[in-house]
Subunit: 187 residues, 2 copies
Amino acid sequence: MKSLNASSKKDVPSARERLLLTAHRLFYQDGIRATGIDKIILEAQVTKVTFYRHFPSKNDLIRAYLEYRHEHWLTWFSDSLTRHGGNLTALVPVLAEWFEQEDFRGCAFINSLSELGSEHPDIVEITRRHKHDMIDVVKRLLLKPSKQEQLAEVIGLIVDGAIVRAQYERDPCNTLQSVQNAVEKLL
Amino acid sequence: MKSLNASSKKDVPSARERLLLTAHRLFYQDGIRATGIDKIILEAQVTKVTFYRHFPSKNDLIRAYLEYRHEHWLTWFSDSLTRHGGNLTALVPVLAEWFEQEDFRGCAFINSLSELGSEHPDIVEITRRHKHDMIDVVKRLLLKPSKQEQLAEVIGLIVDGAIVRAQYERDPCNTLQSVQNAVEKLL
DNA sequence: TTATATGTAGACAGACCTGTCTACTTACAG
DNA sequence: CTGTAAGTAGACAGGTCTGTCTACATATAA
């Protein structure tokens, strides 16, 4: 969906979209505090007035980043689980698909929580919502008897643990093997 | 063990120790980037020259912080597991002991990795070592047939997942219940 | 006594950061 | 045409940050 300004003429994303996409890339890759707004502005090719017109403060951009990330990650997660068979054994190939990406840097929500959780209680809330929604996807797609609330919660633990481990281990194979072992124990 | 300077006369920790303890507290509570060296210096009651005499850069202090944390956390973890019976069911009360602390703010290593992992590869290495040592403790203390390498790795996943969840959930009970459920599935 | 280690107070430099502002241009709707 | 929205270039303010430096004091060992 393109906005109605310049982008409809030349297929150039709107200034707001460029800001959001650039922030998403840089915040995820380098960290939120490590990324100054001037860098985002430069790479998005807008001016500071435009930046502040769309996002009244850096905090507004951070929230927009996390909401964008939430929506897009959950869509990918859901689609990927379905693509890989839509049952519990899909979990490993889905995580493999993610962990093996060149730009994998863990979970944006865990990272933001670690970085900013003490001073931004809304980030704690955003993270909680994200994780609950992830567990809901697991429940809906992978666990057909819907009474398995507890199992979905355990799977959520395993997913979060795997994400963290994948962030510090050199090779995702050992992590994926542990997920596989865990899934086998749960079946 | 006290150093041989002023502290042996008046039971005042040395300047270095005050810096390290203050940094430990503030880095863990507020985040590493969020904590400027001037705040550490003020609260440790030293001067800037003293700070730089002991730690040639902020990065040196960060490494010292993580090494201090590694040693003290692992000692606590090991002792607590033993205190709670030294078998797999000890895991939940040990994590409860930690998560219920007023100043609980997740895992210092995960937090540092999230915050600084992109620009400090040594932090990735430090985190990896920490987590491997944690899994070794689990293997040594909780799993008597020492062939259970895979199980220890799975437990490590569950522990990391629980730590993350405990950081964003309001109440640790649900998290601890999930750990309990997982442990039961593993036995 | 001298030399060394460790500590003090505090000023300073330069970089980076977030946010405010001026003056102007272009596109579009009515 | 006018008014509005959205964009431009870029300067500026004030704050925070890390690290460098001067000048001095105290404790200890030889």
